[in-house]
Amino acid sequence: MNLQTFPSPAITDIETLELAMYRAMLLARRLDERMWALNRQGHGHFAVSCAGHEATGAGYAFALDVTRDYLAPQHRDLSALLVWGLTPRDVLCHYLGKAADPAGAGRQMYAHWGSRRLRIYSLSSVMSGHVPHAVGIALASKYRREDTVTWCGFGDGSSSKGDVHESMNFAAIHKLPVVFCCENNGFAISVPQSKQMAVENVADRAAGYGFPGVVVDGMNPLAVYETARAAIERARRGDGPTLIEAKVYRYLPHTSNDDDTRYRTREEVERARERDPLKTFRAQLYAEQLLDEKSETALENEIRAAVDDAADFALNAPELSAADTFKQVYGDGSG
């Protein structure tokens, strides 16, 4: 790897980067586990797992400039959002739909991210609906001669929507500073890639719009980081979009309402576990002597404390009130 500078001010060397990535991935995984546990205990109606997508999120989030770039994330990008400034308390208030939920005071289901302060654009449930918005943000950057970059994630399933086509074409015409990232986990709920498209790589679509498409191992945060860096720099230079396809896997069911045993074998899932970034990257950090049993225990303890605190906080946080339900229809006070 050839790393000279780090866009995140807090990161000054590759070792710090790797540890920070691992921390984000682990925190995301542990928060995720907690949400599913809470769900099974009857707290919260809807969990969406990030498990398997953490390396991609951590990889790209550190490649962006957290102080000025924009995120229009994929719904499983919890690790990225933690890097980006969402706290565990934010996440669990969002999960439980509490008034303190920064994405919308409990109005949306979990994994419908958003924070204007953090330049995280709001997601709806409509797959790919946010892709043109990311292009619009990038258009504004160019319009104002700012060198900010917008990151736009979406899934393999979402890539089938016309929204993605129109957005990529528009971004290409205007050479906008946007990076498209298709997080390909091989499934749109139960529908496997083979029934979603007749190609192996979504990245191959990019050529038809006139910008580069590149496939990366989405289970390797450093590979994602490098690929993202190149695409982000290209965008910042004014050379236009890139489509990155990160090959990942979703370990859990689609959501807490799904039963994935109906459409994939346990063997397939177990096999994919071998690529689990939390396993492989942990091994790498051990091999590089950036992690050992002691520091790992400390890290796990720190994270467990943060997750406990967040769960406590969120479970006891106030609900959206009936009165507030009627607010924010219009900005002129008329509703």
Partner: protein, 326 residues
């Protein structure tokens, strides 16, 4: 046989596919998974991947492909996973499916069914709770039905499949498993365009459909205890609407209360209220009244928000009481 609505839909799909080779199903997760609500469970194994097609996330193509296939003689049943996601196929539905027969003077037609779960009350938030009937009821050329009981679910689904024009078949997702009822094994059809008086009454008429029919019936029970006799009419067909049954009921009760879960302004209650004021005006002893979702952009996820949004038996009964007292 006592069945739930979801079972009834599944069984009806199966028997229609058995009867008619032209009938096939197209939608997201309808195959191997059997649909996110299991409406198509088992059909993939029974009829194979060509007749139960797992589609990519392409609502526009699902509807558009069905339109083309219907034009040349197949009988597609397109499933939109949640009604909230039908919006990206809006153009195909209103510009093509609804207008094809008219624009070609009957030369090309579009006999297809679009099935989709709609409605709130299952913590689905803004994008898994929408009611879409009012939007589509503005487009002549389409038909819309919204069964509230297993009996009607079968009869209207069979009618929709047999219809020579595109039919939007709306399934209130909260009724799927909560509402059970007798479903005869024989073939029968519930004609599109016919409402049904579910409970006779003399003091006021409540017009409802889908999940709200059941809330309206529960409201009528509450009202009965207050000695208010509400007539409850299940609209069932939302385009066309059975105006005769509505006007007849108003002639009898002289008071009209319209209930829907959808938001207030330009909800279906608008047309119903206006028609009554236009064509049954002299029968009215009181203003028309509506109990509906509020004019908010969506149903909140938060439980308090969701409850605040949705009408229910008590809210209906309260309004009905005021109307009866007018």
């Amino acid at each position: 046989m006592l069945k739930s609505i979801i079972e009834t839909i599944r069984d009806t799909l199966r028997s229609e596919m058995t009867r008619d080779e032209r009938v096939f199903i197209l939608g997201e997760d309808v195959g191997v998974l059997g649909g996110v609500f299991r409406a198509t469970e088992g059909l993939y194994n029974e009829f194979g991947p060509e007749r139960v097609i797992d589609a990519p996330i392409s609502e526009l193509a699902i509807i558009g492909v069905a339109i083309g296939a219907a034009g040349v003689g197949l009988r597609p049943i397109a499933e939109i996973e949640f009604a909230d996601f039908i919006h990206s196929a809006f153009d195909q539905i209103v510009s093509d499916a609804a207008k094809l027969r008219y624009r070609t003077n009957g030369d090309w037609t579009c006999p297809m069914v679009i099935r989709t779960p709609y409605g709130g009350g299952i913590h689905g938030a803004l994008y898994h709770s929408q009611s879409i009937e009012a939007t589509y009821a503005h487009f002549p050329g389409l038909k819309i039905v919204a069964p509230a009981t297993p009996y009607d679910a079968k009869g209207l689904l069979r009618a929709a499949i047999a219809d020579p024009d595109p039919v939007l078949y709306l399934e209130h997702k909260k009724t799927y498993r909560s509402i059970k009822g007798e479903v005869p094994d024989e073939d029968y059809i519930v004609p599109i365009g016919k409402a049904q008086v579910k409970r006779a009454g003399s003091d006021l008429s409540i017009f409802a459909y889908g999940m709200m029919l059941h809330e309206a019936l529960a409201a009528a029970e509450i009202l009965e205890r207050q000695d208010i006799h509400a007539e409850v009419v299940d609209l069932r067909s939302l385009l066309p609407i059975d105006w005769e049954t509505i006007f007849e009921s108003v002639r009898k009760t002289n008071r009209a209360l319209i209930v829907h879960e959808d938001t207030y302004t330009m909800g279906l209650g608008a047309e119903i209220g206006a028609r009554i004021a236009e064509q049954a005006f002299l029968d009215l002893d009181a203003p028309i009244m509506r109990v509906t979702g509020p004019d908010l952009p969506g149903v909140p996820f938060n439980e308090i928000g969701e409850k605040t949004f949705l009408p229910n038996a008590q809210k209906i009964a309260d309004a009905a009481q005021r109307l009866a007292a007018f």
